[in-house]
């Protein structure tokens, strides 16, 4: 294998290893890897998705936003024209910024004249809409629009700016202090003036400005931005936001101060963006207490409010977290953006602590939520990612409108279209989450075929990885470069691993889940890891009521699912249950299981359908039926689908 490994980008004052990536803590020893420090094979699981993202998704997003007038919104404001009917929701500006962030990472990986020209044209249109005092919004504060900051609960003005700052950070960290960066600095300065101490004692209903300010502070060295992020964090949770009909303070995380909360709650994306910004503030201000409470909130949430896929947000209502153990497979919201936000948060906690459980959740979420959203072509997306779909092809009749793309048919765009651009910026920078350096040791987090070349104490550690992970559990790491003073390598053993075998310069080992230390490595060393990705049964906690009497099948990091497409003709999807004592067989990237099948003809007889004896299906047959990776569901015919398989003989 040969991948070009371009020279690393070095920004003054930043350690080289970590400079060109979305998250660069100002304190602490762990650093992610830069955008040009890793190059993944375009045939690998993620490499292929990155290629499709670069070649199709970003242009797809731009084309939709141009067509819908979300870009024209900027032009109209720039012209000073009266807005009569504005296209898009009040947060549509953020989609433009998320797309710009994605483009910035793409340009950071490899310059491309055509993409750069598009980027510059877009930035020029954005910049033209900025007011002299730094205020930037196409939904407020201009002729025909409501006044600035007249709807802090739902206006999303600071949320939009937060995404602008993240885009500017991507640009700065890839070596360009350009117009977008200038716009972002002016916007951030404006926010600090308007919402600093003694000014407006308010905050934005949708967190995001916090994480944007924190990273801009890191990228520019401006402590004021970090301080403003801290102010927003501490101001929240005291019922500051005006009450909105049918929305609770919990929805906005304005019910309880972040230092006192015990779990993530309310709107899932809001909660996870907020926590991400809070980790940034905790780390940079060395606030161990804040970090500790965030770790505890994360642990309770992941234990009790998270799906097997890593999906978060059980409720369609308020797009929100449920109570502990409220995890219905069928109406699981599991918004794609919540998967992105959970990845942002887990990565920050991993850098802050080195605890491999954060990497475990990140991998689980990436393979089973984020990867599930886009189709093969990168031009249609799931918004919600439920674990059970009863009606093939979607719940909504009535043409064209697809609210959530939850029925198994991915949609090219949405009315609220936060997910496509979030996938775009995440895939564009995904390889920066693949490893981190700490001193002279590199810890490898994600397994993917490709090349890494990472700055460590004393020089650079370069290696390439050969693997077909996750289809196969064999990972081979070949050391290509090491500092004269030596370097260490650690490999992640996922939490699901049983019976892993590893080998390195220090000999063989059978590592348990966690970090396996391969020891000091030198050029030419080969480190191998063999993970057992045979399919396995996974049982839900007994307290997850909606999953009682069911079991899932996983295969390595992949959650599998049953699609009705794969059932024998005449078998009722509702009456299919798994014979859990029969072996689960490996198949390509999936598995096959023995199902008991019924024809769905036996009714309960009751109105409503409850009877005096357990309800039993008319068993017609058993059959060996394939399961496919959840991330691939809905790619064939519209289909019914379920992750949690009813166990035969359990009250059925």
């Amino acid at each position: 294998m040969t991948f070009s490994t371009p020279a690393p980008i070095v920004v003054a004052g930043q350690p080289a290893a970590s400079s060109a990536c979305p998250v660069v803590p100002a304190k602490g020893a762990r650093r992610g890897v830069g955008i040009r420090d890793v190059s993944w094979s375009p045939q690998g699981f993620w490499g292929r998705r990155q290629r499709v993202n670069a070649q199709a998704t970003i242009a797809h997003c731009e084309s939709w936003m141009e067509r819908l007038g979300w870009l024209e919104n900027f032009d109209r404001v720039a012209r000073g024209a009266e807005t009569t009917e504005r296209a898009g929701w009040q947060f549509s500006d953020s989609e433009v910024y998320k797309m710009l962030e994605g483009i910035a990472w793409e340009l950071g990986r490899a310059d491309d004249a055509e993409l750069r020209a598009r980027y510059e044209a877009l930035v020029a249109r954005v910049a033209a809409a900025q007011d002299d005092d730094g205020y930037l919004s196409t939904a407020f504060g201009h002729p025909g629009l409501p006044p600035r900051y007249s709807d802090m609960s739902m206006g999303h003005e600071l949320y939009n700016v937060g995404h602008l700052l993240q885009a500017a950070v991507a640009r700065l960290r890839t070596g360009h202090d350009d117009l977008l960066v200038a716009v972002a600095r002016r916007a951030a300065d404006h926010v600090c003036r308007e919402f600093g101490p003694g000014s407006r004692e308010s905050l934005c209903g949708h967190p995001e400005i916090e994480v944007g300010l924190a990273e801009l502070s890191r990228a520019t060295g401006e402590q004021r931005y970090l301080e403003q992020a801290r102010i927003f964090l501490d101001r929240r949770g005291h019922g500051v936001l005006p009450v909105r009909p049918l929305l609770s303070a919990e929805y906005f995380q304005d019910d309880t101060p972040i230092r006192e909360a015990t779990a993530f709650r309310g709107h899932a994306v809001r909660a996870l963006y907020l926590a991400s910004g809070a980790v940034d503030v905790a780390v940079d201000s060395e606030d161990a207490e804040l970090l500790g409470t965030l770790e505890a909130q994360w642990a309770r949430t992941v234990e009790r409010r998270t799906y097997l896929t890593g999906g978060m947000g059980s409720r369609h209502q308020d797009e929100g977290f449920g109570e502990d153990w409220e995890l219905p497979p069928d109406r699981a919201y599991c918004e794609t953006c919540a998967g992105v936000a959970s990845t942002m948060l887990a990565w920050r906690l991993l850098l802050a602590t080195g605890d491999p459980r954060y990497a475990d959740l990140m991998e689980r979420t990436l393979y089973n939520v984020v990867a599930a959203a886009p189709d093969e072509d990168g031009t249609a997306f799931f918004y919600a990612n439920p674990l059970h779909v009863r009606v093939a092809g979607g719940e909504y009749s009535g043409g064209g409108v697809n609210h959530r793309a939850e029925g198994g048919v991915r949609a090219p765009w949405f009315d609220v279209s936060c997910c496509p651009t979030n996938v775009a910026r995440t895939f564009a920078s995904l390889h920066t989450y693949s490893a981190y350096a700490e001193g002279d040791v590199v810890s490898l987090v994600l397994y993917e075929a490709g090349e890494w070349n990472i700055a460590v104490d004393g020089g650079r550690l370069g290696f390439h990885v050969e693997t077909r992970y996750p289809d196969d559990g064999t990972v081979r790491v070949v050391i290509d470069e090491a500092p004269p003073t030596g370097a260490g390598l650690r490999l992640r053993i996922p939490s699901w691993s049983r019976g892993a075998v590893a080998a390195g310069p220090r000999g063989e080992a059978t590592p348990e889940p966690g970090w396996w230390d391969a020891g000091a490595v030198s050029v030419g060393d080969v480190v191998t890891l063999s993970l057992d990705v045979a399919p396995r049964l996974t049982w839900p906690d007994r307290r997850i009521d909606a999953m009682r009497g069911t079991v899932a099948v996983e295969r390595g990091p992949l959650v599998l699912c049953l699609e009705s497409t794969d059932l024998p003709e005449g078998a009722s999807f509702e009456d299919a249950s798994i014979l859990a004592s029969e072996p689960v067989l490996a198949e390509a990237d999936g598995a096959s299981v023995t199902l008991r099948l019924g024809d769905g003809t036996v009714a309960s007889g009751g109105l409503p359908a409850y009877g005096s004896a357990p309800s039993v299906a008319a068993t017609t047959t058993t059959a060996q039926v394939p399961l496919v990776p959840y991330h691939r569901w809905g790619e064939r015919l519209p289909s019914q689908m379920r992750v949690m398989l009813p166990v035969a003989g359990q009250n059925s």
Copy 2:
């Protein structure tokens, strides 16, 4: 027992038996009983609630609406003053009308000078706000408000008028052709002009005008109103309503014509009000095909989209029906108003067909949804009626706002406060649903201590009922009056009944569920029925995924539930499961069961909480634990609650 049985009200042109009640089909042989034809003991299950309703609930509603400015809205419009900030939602007028309907039924039962004065004052305020052309709204069409009919999807203008018409019908049928009736006629005439053939080809996003027009047509003899109801029905389902962000045509039942639909879907109250109006139109126009499709939609909905309580509407999102078998106990919305609407519909279908399954669902819904909403004092209410509550005392922190009162604490009022007034008007007229006459035969539907005196062919059938139903299954009917030509009596044997014993002039019988014909009865005859109300296990259909591995306990018509308050100290509510092979014991109005208890200490160990083996609680003990009627839940301490009990040994 002695109850005063006032003389029946007779309105010209209406058969006496059915004149003074909410539903009086223009065609068909079955007629409900009039508001003064039945008098229930104030100690009975329903009699007590009627008394509380009359003495407390109605005044409670009036006081809240005065305090919140929902009544002042009418005064401001009457004054012609500019509305700057309007109190309440656009449908707040309807709460006033529903309260007026409740008052009208109360005044129809027994005149009361103080209540009559309050009624007249309220009607005067409403009447003063009506425009010369009959238009009546405090939310549109006046200075400072949006123009008339500028938001057909969510404006609720015709919905409000529908409730006005129902209130006027109550007044007309209780013998008063008064100012409210005049206002209603003018409003109905206006609607016919504005939305008739060749005029606005539109309809209201929230059905209700249909049922209001149909009953006003029946009460006044004006065929135009029935015709307009039919026009609205047939116009719907063709995507007529403007699309609203995040709401589908299905939400409004505007996705599929009512004659082509196969189940109730979308917003539950909307769907059920619409179907009620459709039954009225089908019956009065002798449209057997329309009635047939409504019966089929009802049957599928009740089989597959209805809770054991009779509750309808599985989803918080859109307050809507779910797909078939989507019946999560924990997030069951089961809005109180959907229970009222389902009762309206079931009663209409019962009158149209005589099929006892409609009476079964009506009784189930009344005891387990409608009766559950108000507290003992009739001044606090549940809005949602879930079958499982994990967190005692409600989900929302942050004071004062109680959106849905779903956490086990009833609320005195709501932001969207449709339920209290719906309960008020339903309880005020509930006894009219207790029996129906057909020729010279009376069919007794609801068992309650009290007196009935019903017009039948040839004269009147009078009887009194002695019973402690539903606590006890014994019902004794004593015939007090019969026409010289004789009359027949039928008793309803509920669908859950096993081993009932009945006795009458023709001897003893062991009737199966359905109608038991006691035969011809004479003065002095005693008819007895003994229903077995011993508690029993009830199993959900295997296809209700969220109830897999659980069983419920019922007792007569009552669904029972477990409250955490009743668990031994130290027992975890989440770890309590029922030993389903142990006997279920009767206790007062509830039952007791043997539970396996755990202390909740065993964690799954996984993050998220899924493991390689079934999750098992640390069993500490078993205990006999009481279950209480669902309608009484939350009356003691704030408590966790569940109707569906996990079955011990089922994957746990």
